[in-house]
């Protein structure tokens, strides 16, 4: 019916009065690293469980390689899951855990041994083969869970917040490892997370989900730089919002008049008309904070606002400032690319200039 690799076609799932997934349609390419990103309770895990076969949609169909898999049991679809709590079988050794699906497929003994040994080698766990899951660390369990789900080469690997139970250092390490594994096996990965950092660093494409619907489906950079809605802009990273009305247009640019803030010039990529209400999102790292006014070569068209420093959080790589500008609290990030201690530091209550280029703001239409 559909030539795409994996297709969700108008899928809806309700739990009592709650609509967990609301008429969602999207498709995934073969070999893609695809993420479902959203706050908890947004429906992303329900989508994953429907693909795994653990939930049945109330309406809509799911197709894998053109075949309707909506009503197949979990054991009838070539889709494997890496569970959040790993779900390793505690009564089996690591080796037996990984061999589980191969034995079910009734492969010859020799072939099972080759495959299990090969994947143990890939995840560098060969010396732990005869241990039991409770003898492993969290990161090791994670690797075994991935190996167990990958060993019989499923068509899609589902990962349900696989890094949530690990500490920060291990999480960063496993991120790289997941990326390497994905490149090695070439299997389609479907990754569920509420952590935008994870999704951004791993995914080819991300579906941002909110209240059972896809808000935006794009590559990581587009989602960050060109969010399609106020929700996406605020969920992915920090941002400053200025809500107002367009009061003037000049070529590709326009002037926005926010409530309680001076006029802002912005790039009008959507060609909106005068009188329309917009939300302008300006990321903190796009905003400059200087004691001196911006140099004249920056041009007359940039947005400059004299302000006062309210709060400073020094974080090594950068410093985060909260600045009061015309009574509005603006967040700004200043990276320290030069040796900081030689500079005249900005401190509390300093009079500063906050400025950014009109191209650095991004307009999203106000939600009605």
């Amino acid at each position: 019916m559909n030539s795409e690799f994996l297709v969700f076609d108008h899928v809806t799932k309700r739990f009592g009065a709650l609509t967990a997934v609301n008429d969602v349609s999207f498709s995934v390419k073969k070999g893609e690293f695809f993420s479902l990103l959203g706050p908890s309770g947004c429906g992303k895990t329900t989508l994953l469980r429907m693909l795994g076969g653990f939930e049945k949609p109330d309406s809509g169909r799911i197709y894998l390689e053109g075949r309707d898999i909506t009503d197949l049991a979990p054991n009838e679809r070539r889709v494997h899951t890496v569970f959040q709590n790993y779900a390793l079988f505690p009564t089996m050794t690591i080796w037996d855990n990984i061999a589980f699906s191969l034995r079910l497929a009734k492969l010859p003994k020799k072939e099972i041994e080759e495959k299990v040994d090969a994947i143990l080698d890939m995840i560098q766990m060969s010396e732990h083969a005869w241990k039991y899951p409770n003898q492993l660390s969290g990161g090791q369990k994670q690797r075994v869970a991935i190996a167990r789900a990958l060993v019989d080469r499923p068509k899609v690997l589902l990962l349900d917040e696989p890094l949530a139970a690990l500490d920060l250092k291990l999480r960063q390490h496993m991120l790289l490892e997941l990326d390497t594994i994905h490149d090695q096996v070439g299997i389609t990965f479907m990754y569920v997370t509420h952590d935008q950092g994870e999704a951004m660093s791993l995914s080819d494409r991300i579906a941002v989900i909110n209240r059972g619907r896809i808000e935006q489906l794009d590559g990581p950079a587009k989602i960050y730089e060109a969010p399609s809605s106020r929700f996406v802009a605020s969920f992915i990273g920090d941002t400053n919002f200025f809500s107002g009305e367009i009061v003037a247009k000049d070529g590709d640019y326009c002037t926005i008049r926010p409530d309680g803030f001076p006029d802002i010039r912005a790039y009008n990529d959507k060609q909106l008309e005068v009188g329309q209400k917009v939300d302008l999102s300006v990321r903190p790292e796009k905003i400059r904070v200087t004691l001196a006014p911006p140099p004249p070569e920056k041009g007359a068209s940039i947005n400059v606002y004299p302000s006062t420093v309210q709060d400073i959080v020094y974080q090594g790589v950068y410093t985060k400032y909260w600045i009061s500008s015309s009574g509005v609290r603006v967040a700004a990030l200043k990276p320290h690319s030069r040796f900081l201690l030689d500079q005249e530091p900005i401190t509390w209550n300093d009079k500063v200039f906050v400025w950014w280029h009109p191209d650095d703001g991004y307009m999203v239409e106000s939600e009605k």
Binding site: F54, P74, A87, F100, L104, E127, W130, D152
Partner: protein, 304 residues
């Protein structure tokens, strides 16, 4: 320095009451029973002089058959109880907490009635004029047998009824701790429901299985009320013989000897099974060590 010593003493203090209990009510009586067997008996029902006469008298040709029958029936009762209890435990563990409490409560409810009364109730139900017998006759169950009462079947049936809660409870406790997402994982990897149940659920609750087997098998071995009331002359178990020797014949040494023989004939197979298990474990460990050693030499070779 002093803290491990102090904790050692604390450990002793905590465990001492259990030890004392075990010693007073298990070890000492066991030794006394064993000692009785090396005494004769006197006509007044007391224990006589030290002698081997009791053991010599024990060569009753009926005993081996009765012991064998007791073990056979106990094994049957244990198997039936486990087969019935495992699905029950699984179902209860998967219920929501409200229903779980109600069902678990109703399983324990019969204990509010005296055991003997409950067995007697079965006697009336199984009686040739009882309603259960009438039902059986209606559907021609039981073939030529005119009555279930006074048969081995009645003893097994009522024993399973009596001991089932003792099997369900430890199994339920184990099943409650079981992580049911493991079954989902097994299904996800391609297992059918029953395969996942057999390969993941049963091994997962094996501690509970061991307790349940012991909780049913041990009382079944020593049971005498049920065969007495429901087995008639067709199902005499070792418990009845011990009861008969001790109470009717007032021959305590003889009863003690029978109890000893029974205990030994149960302990020997259990001991063998434990020895076999230990040997298996040692083999597994050796295999693990061999694997690891092979791996390291392979790595060493590659490094050179």
């Amino acid at each position: 320095m002093s803290s491990p010593l102090r904790s050692r003493r604390a450990e002793w203090l905590v465990t001492a009451p259990s030890f004392l209990w075990l010693a007073l009510f298990f070890a000492v009586p066991a030794v006394i029973v064993l000692a009785f067997t090396f005494h004769g008996h006197d006509i007044s029902g007391g224990v006589g002089e030290w002698s081997l006469s009791t053991w010599r008298e024990l060569v009753d040709p009926d005993y081996p058959a009765i012991i064998w029958n007791t073990i056979k029936i106990s094994v049957e009762v244990t198997i039936w109880s486990i087969v019935l209890a495992v699905p029950c435990a699984y179902a209860i563990a998967r219920m929501n907490p409200r229903w779980r409490a109600i069902v678990a409560g109703s399983i324990m409810l019969p204990f509010w009635t005296s055991f003997v009364v409950r067995v007697f109730a079965w006697k009336t139900m199984l009686h040739p004029d009882g309603w259960l017998q009438a039902c059986c006759n209606l559907f021609s169950i039981g073939g030529g047998h005119s009555t279930i009462l006074d048969s081995e079947a009645a003893v097994v049936l009522v024993s399973v009824y009596s001991f089932l809660p003792f099997a369900i409870m430890p199994l339920y406790t184990a099943a409650e701790k079981f992580d049911f997402s493991l079954l989902e994982a097994a299904r996800d990897l391609g297992a059918k429901n029953f395969y996942a149940f057999r390969k993941i659920f049963l091994p997962g609750i094996r501690q509970g299985l061991v307790s349940a087997v012991l909780m049913v098998f041990i009382p079944a071995i020593g049971s005498y009320v049920i065969p007495q009331m429901l087995g008639g002359t067709n199902c005499v178990l070792i418990g009845n013989k011990i009861f008969m020797r001790a109470i009717q014949n007032r021959n305590i040494p003889h009863a003690s000897a029978l109890a000893t023989v029974m205990a030994v004939s149960v302990l020997i197979p259990i001991g063998l099974a434990m020895w076999w298990k230990r040997r298996q474990d040692a083999r597994d460990r050796q295999r693990l060590e061999a694997q690891t050693a092979k791996l390291f030499t392979a790595e060493g070779g590659a490094a050179k």
